[in-house]
Symmetry: C2
Subunit: 318 residues, 2 copies
């Protein structure tokens, strides 16, 4: 085992979180949220998506967001893209990295992006070529790596075969995704161990949802297998309305960051500012978010609060 | 590493969950919940507490609950006890096991049970003797094993020293508790590894709260270290009202059971019936509980639902 001492948190709230919102979040507020995340120390972020506004009206202001947001030195601002055309738009808007999704399931791929898997693979080639030509990063997401709603549990070999295709194309940044929250830690451990062994030149990251409450346990298993990059969403944005019931959002950024900090793993993120960004996200969408650390604090914050309460009580007594 | 292939789920909702409820749950409903859990296959359960009704009015009906509930063959019905007197009452009511709490922190112990740690240790001796005489089990909970609100992070050595005291008394069943949700997986792994190594004749279990969302990640780390018994609360009972905000309950039984089932680890629990018990708990307390698997289903239930939706759509088309 080689547990990384430093990990990269990829903030996906402005993209994966907001695309699950029913109402359109004003461009200025999106930019405000992105800026708050950057100021909290986030250095890799899915800022928006260049998927067709017809498909994703919530993110139809992708160009404006990219133009208006602050950029940190060394920050990697990622745009989700569906194809070459989207890639060209994203690159023209100054994306540092373009990210395309391909699903392990041909059935689902046809439903999700309206084309067979083989056509999506052609798009992957085009996206990579365009990114390279522009001197930018291209990333590929292996969607439904652990389970497919239409095909059921996904055999490891199927993921390996698809990773092999994109690795042969030349993709070095590969995200293994569980957007339905179907993975379990044993499966994650086995998958990540095998991927790292079979593709030593690729860099893998993990995209998890907390649908069944296994998000952070899955992170732990992957981290213990050497994975050092994880997607997460500020406040748990993208989860359900009002209560945790039906929460299907990404794992929560501040809960993830807290786990790593408590384990002595560096993230480069300032927790206080991150919680500020989570409060901002909550204010923007106008409802409580399913975050633990936003609401209950870190252990250090908890101890501090108890000390303050004790001091207040002592002062009242005297 | 020796990962157990079967684990025991200790249901603590009727005790730790309901004691955090503001209003008194009628005795008949408590019994109904306990019976539903027994029918779901739960074979170890904190049914109630024989702490003074003045301290814990929510559980003032301990004797009635113990007398009225169904008991499964082979089931271990545990009662929390504060001292010898409570033990005698619990044993008279037919408790199979009595469980006493002692805190790592003398400061907190004085606050929590109104006596110095040394006096509590004397109580532990008395409780063990009484249980032995009655041919019943005695268990001890090492409270605040990972952090203390008043003293801050708890050094491992302090826990080891206290475990040593109770092990020398003759306690074989020792629960390591993190009721404030302060533990992290690295800390849990280190602690459980050391405890199992230094006390090979003791049987350790783990009591976790999900305050910072690390409950199941902590379970995973402990399970990988050979721990095979975990407390959990049906539906996440004992968590916050209304939203996840401020949720400080135990880890959720059905989320825990789902994690183990998905990893191929036996629990003896029937998930469908367990979810029924969680719905009952929700109905009893009259608000949604912070459970993932109650609301989103297991992966198998998710696949089944998609299949049914697909079949319905196909039927509508034809």
């Amino acid at each position: 085992m080689s547990e990384p001492t430093r990990v990269t948190i990829v903030e996906v709230g402005p993209r994966d979180g907001l695309q699950l919102e029913k109402s359109f979040v004003p461009t200025a507020r999106k930019i405000e949220l992105i800026n708050a995340l950057t100021r909290a120390g986030i250095r890799r972020m899915e800022a928006t998506s260049f998927v067709s506004p017809k498909v994703m009206p919530q993110l139809s202001d992708a160009a404006e967001v990219m133009a208006g947001m602050e950029r940190a030195a060394g920050g990697v601002y990622v745009a989700l893209v569906p194809n070459l055309k989207g890639t060209q738009r994203a690159l023209a808007c100054g994306a540092d990295s373009v990210k395309i999704v391909i699903c392990t399931s041909d059935t689902y791929n046809r439903r999700n992006v309206g084309m067979p898997l083989e056509d999506s693979l052609k798009s992957c080639t085009e996206v990579l070529a365009a990114a390279r030509q522009a001197g930018k990063i291209a990333e590929v997401v292996i969607g439904l790596s652990f389970g497919c709603p239409l095909e059921g549990p996904v055999p490891e070999d199927k993921v390996i075969a698809l990773v092999n295709r994109v690795a042969e194309m030349g993709y070095a940044e590969i995200s293994i995704a569980d957007s339905m929250g179907l993975a379990n830690p044993r499966q994650v451990r086995s998958m990540m161990r095998r991927l790292r062994r079979e593709f030593p030149r690729a860099h893998f990251s993990l995209h998890l949802h907390d649908t069944r409450g296994l998000g952070l346990a899955n992170v732990l298993a992957a981290w213990e297998e050497g994975i050092d990059m994880f997607d997460a969403s500020i406040g748990g944005l993208g989860g359900s309305a009002v209560v945790v019931a039906g929460a299907t959002g990404n794992i929560t950024t501040e809960d993830l960051v807290n786990m790593f900090h408590e384990m002595g793993v560096e993230t480069g993120v300032d927790m206080g500012k991150l919680q500020g960004a989570a409060r901002l996200a909550q204010e923007i969408i106008g409802r409580p978010l399913p975050s633990h650390v936003l609401n209950n604090g870190t252990p250090a914050q908890f101890y501090q609060k108890v000390r303050e309460d004790e001091a207040r009580k002592a002062a009242q007594r005297s």
